[in-house]
């Protein structure tokens, strides 16, 4: 038997244990709130979600009030709205909100196309959350035109000494969402309410840096913050994204679903999907390092071949030239002299094509590992085609021909004879086999830089140039069909601790990540943990 209650004159069904706020939200009835969120335990801090319950003497918080059979509730009576306005003005008085009440608000919007992008927030026009601000939404809903209380600017310093995070607690309204996300949902206690009374603020215990406080930089506090107090450095100031693409992280085989925010065809932010169910702990790599990895200016964009005039250098060439050059060269080697190295970070499609290619041209194909390559060397392999970048290639003896497929310039790319630019997982469609035989879909979010191609496309072209059968596909769908009907492949796995993507250590490409690692190591050592590596 379902249970019923009455909200704003409508009969609404509910289940035992639901709060009135949850029931109303499910029924599509808006109740303003700044502290409640479906994925967080109720707290009752902001007092905006108050409701008028028939028979009650006060206005209870709907976020903490369990729904009862036959309850009669009103959510927006004039009295309620008046109280709300009062409550909200008190919140605004301690949040830099002159822009909300400014007479020139509309005109200002026209002139200031968001040219303030740094420092402490001193008004909405300098706030990175301007276009996605819950406070502004509510002030519009409540039609706030003035603030009757003296405004107080807390004048707290900008906290930007930690990697990834910038915190401006002058904007904080003490809703405690971040603390609940950190403590109650994820089970850490990096942050808490510190100090008392008027000085109450969110912070780490004994005001140490976040790096020392046990923070794992999962970024969930940022995702739940209703103001611009918590922001991710490097992912901020973009405003509303042009599009958001849900895909699977390919940094390891864990299979985290992630939303990639795209603006101006650039990856600008990575965060978990909003829904409660998908919310699991993100690692710092996935949450913060992907934009820097994808958008790096020194990404390889065009194929190059190494030639010598006065000195040896990589010379840019067209794909046609690079492909036919590689094909011709490979043909001059015997199958047992060719080694094909598969990177663990490839999509299933690319692994399939590479394995198929390897079966036809070589007798040696391995998933990258250092010992494996050393043993290939001892078997007399002279030509390597690798999708994984490793310093080991520059040390190999008897190396005659090295084809490297990569995303960045490196020492290996300098020594390789042919360098082919490839895509990162945000730039291609495909499938990823994760742990426990789960298959996840990888969806393209942005265009690859320059002429970079996905691995499978590159190797299909090389194979075709070598006149091998079975490498012509009109679309990736055709390829997927073929994989479905083939024998299951042994898809390489990447452990969660692996810091490398296609052989590129993240610490090399993401400045802040490097700092994060060094600091964590320093802290571990000082705590007597010796040379332990950091759990990422």
């Amino acid at each position: 038997m379902s249970k019923w209650m009455n909200i704003n004159g409508r009969r609404v069904v509910f289940e035992e244990g639901e709060t009135v706020l949850e029931v109303a939200t499910k029924a599509g009835i808006y109740i303003p709130t700044l502290c409640a969120r479906p994925d967080l335990p109720s707290f009752g801090a902001c007092r905006l979600c108050i409701i008028d319950v028939e028979g009650a003497r006060t206005y209870p918080n709907s976020c903490t009030l369990p729904a009862r059979e036959g309850m009669v509730v009103r959510t927006a009576t004039p009295d309620l709205q008046a109280v709300r306005r009062n409550v909200f003005q008190l919140i605004l008085a301690e949040h830099p909100s002159y822009c909300i009440i400014c007479k020139e608000h509309d005109e200002c919007e026209k002139v200031r196309h968001g040219e303030y992008k740094a420092g402490r927030v001193i008004g909405c026009f300098t706030c990175s959350n301007k276009e996605i601000c819950e406070i502004r939404e509510i002030s519009e809903y409540l039609r706030i035109k003035e603030i009757r209380y003296p405004m107080l600017y807390k004048n707290l310093p900008l906290e930007r000494d930690d990697p990834f995070l910038v915190r401006d607690y002058n904007l904080c309204i003490l809703c405690a969402r971040c603390i609940r996300a950190c403590q109650d949902v994820l089970g850490y206690s990096a942050i808490d309410l510190t100090k008392r009374g008027h000085d109450t603020k969110v912070g780490t215990i004994s005001e140490v840096s976040h790096l020392e406080s046990g923070c794992v930089f999962c970024g969930h506090c940022i995702d739940v913050c209703p103001t611009g107090a918590l922001i991710a450095r490097g992912s901020t100031w973009f405003g509303k994204p042009d599009k958001s693409v849900t895909t699977t992280c390919n940094l390891c085989s864990h299979g985290c679903q992630m939303v990639i925010d795209v603006k101006w065809d650039k990856v600008v932010n990575v965060h978990p999907p909003y829904e409660l169910s998908a919310r699991r702990e993100y690692c710092v790599k996935g949450r913060f390092c992907i934009p820097a990895l994808v958008n790096g200016r020194d990404r390889l964009k065009y194929p190059t071949i190494k030639r010598k005039l006065i000195k040896e250098e990589q010379h840019p060439v067209s794909w046609d030239e690079a492909i036919s050059y590689t094909a011709e060269k490979l043909k001059s080697f015997k199958p047992e002299e060719i080694g094909i190295i598969i990177a663990p970070s490839l999509t299933d499609e690319s692994v399939f094509i590479l394995s198929k290619f390897a079966q036809k041209v070589s007798t040696n194909s391995i998933v990258y590992d250092e010992e494996g390559i050393m043993s290939l060397q001892s078997q007399g392999v002279k030509a390597y085609v690798t999708t994984f970048n490793s310093k080991i290639f520059s040390k190999l003896e008897g190396l005659e021909f090295l084809v490297l497929q990569d995303i960045y310039e490196s020492i290996t790319s300098e020594s390789a004879e042919v360098v082919l630019p490839t895509t990162v997982f945000t730039e291609e469609d495909g499938t990823k086999s994760g742990e426990e035989y789960m298959r996840y879909s990888i969806n393209k979010a942005v265009e690859p830089p320059g002429e970079a191609l996905p691995s499978w496309a590159i190797f299909c072209r090389i194979a075709q140039s070598m006149e091998l059968e079975g490498f012509s596909y009109n679309s990736i769908e055709e390829l997927k069909d073929e994989i479905m009907n083939s024998e299951p492949l042994d898809i390489p796995k990447i452990s969660k601790q692996n810091l490398e993507y296609m052989g590129i250590p993240l610490t090399e490409k993401v400045e802040e990540f490097r700092l994060y690692i060094t600091t964590k190591r320093a802290i571990n050592q000082s705590e007597g943990k010796g040379e332990v590596d950091v759990q990422i």
């Binding site: 040219e115 992008k117 001193i122 405004m151 600017y153 000494d161 930690d162 700092l515």
Partner: protein, 296 residues
């Protein structure tokens, strides 16, 4: 004292920094109203900043910078003892100063600082100087005390009325002209282009009181070579870096300046910030603390 070294840095209101820099050559030559072009590091762009003050003997200049983008953010991260990569100046024509009689100076935003040398110069020439300084809120007002030493009157105005008058510089000016019927011989304003355009419109309507505005434009070289800073002035194209930066406000095409010329690089700026990862100081602080602990 190395080249372009920061001798002193102070954040006196949120996001506003005053920097004292060692540049003897510029300190010797600077005049009120002139500016410098600054590059923070080798990768940095060149941005123009008005010279606030200079000390020929010490060989230093100071300027105020508001943190609002990539380059200014980099400056905010710099510390005393750090050095700039390049400072060129003094550039631009000095402000037009003489004994006008009663002069009203208006400064908003970064202009609150930029007006200072002009006030000083005008006061020395025997003018009756009225300075109006504007900010959004009480906590963003600065230099009140300093202005008292170089002005005969200082009027404060805030957008939200938290200190002084409520409103803007042009509201105060309007009141002075219309209600108080004060005789004003000359007006100079520095601040955001919107504020200056409104003052210009007002004073043009109220009997064309001579009004000079120091425009803010995007610049590259500061010597008239690129034309990035061009604006329409009296039907002609002028370059702010060599013909200005101070112009007769009534002859400037303000609409073009505000809506067209100055909004070019918003997208690029944001993407630039994405790649800006300043050397975080956590590690250094942590090491410092562990050292202290060890010592004690």
């Amino acid at each position: 004292m190395s080249k372009f070294e920061i001798l002193k840095k102070e954040e006196f209101v949120p996001n506003f920094y005053k920097l004292d820099i060692a540049v003897p050559g510029i300190a010797k030559k600077a005049k009120a109203g002139q500016f410098i072009l600054v590059m923070v590091d080798k990768q940095s762009e060149k941005i123009p900043l008005t010279i606030l003050d200079w000390d020929e003997e010490k060989g230093t200049i100071s300027f105020i910078v508001q943190e609002l983008g990539l380059s200014t953010s980099k400056m905010a991260f710099m510390e005393e003892g750090d050095s700039f990569y390049s400072i060129v100046g003094p550039l631009g024509e000095p402000a037009y100063l003489e004994n006008f009689g009663t002069v009203v100076l208006g400064g908003g935003c970064y202009g609150v600082g930029a007006v200072f040398p002009i006030a000083k110069g005008l006061k020395a020439l025997g003018n009756y100087v009225i300075t109006i300084i504007e900010a959004k809120n009480e906590n963003l007002l600065y230099y009140e005390e300093e202005y008292k030493t170089v002005s005969d009157e200082v009027i404060l105005v805030t957008t939200d009325g938290s200190k002084g008058e409520r409103g803007h510089i042009y509201d105060v000016l309007d009141n002075m002209i219309e209600v108080q019927k004060r005789k004003i011989d000359h007006i100079k304003v520095i601040g955001c282009n919107v504020m200056m355009s409104k003052v210009s419109k007002l004073t043009k309507e109220k009997g064309a009181i001579p009004t000079y505005a120091t425009v803010t434009t995007i610049m590259v070289d500061g010597t008239g070579m690129c034309g990035s800073c061009r604006l329409s002035y009296d039907g002609k194209t002028k370059f702010a870096c060599v013909d200005g930066p101070e112009f007769d406000a009534h002859k400037i095409d303000w609409d073009e300046l505000i809506h067209v010329r100055n909004t070019s690089y918003i997208t690029e700026e944001t993407l630039g910030l994405q790649n800006f990862s300043p050397e975080c100081r956590s590690l250094a602080k942590y090491q410092e603390r562990t050292k202290e602990e060890e010592a004690s």
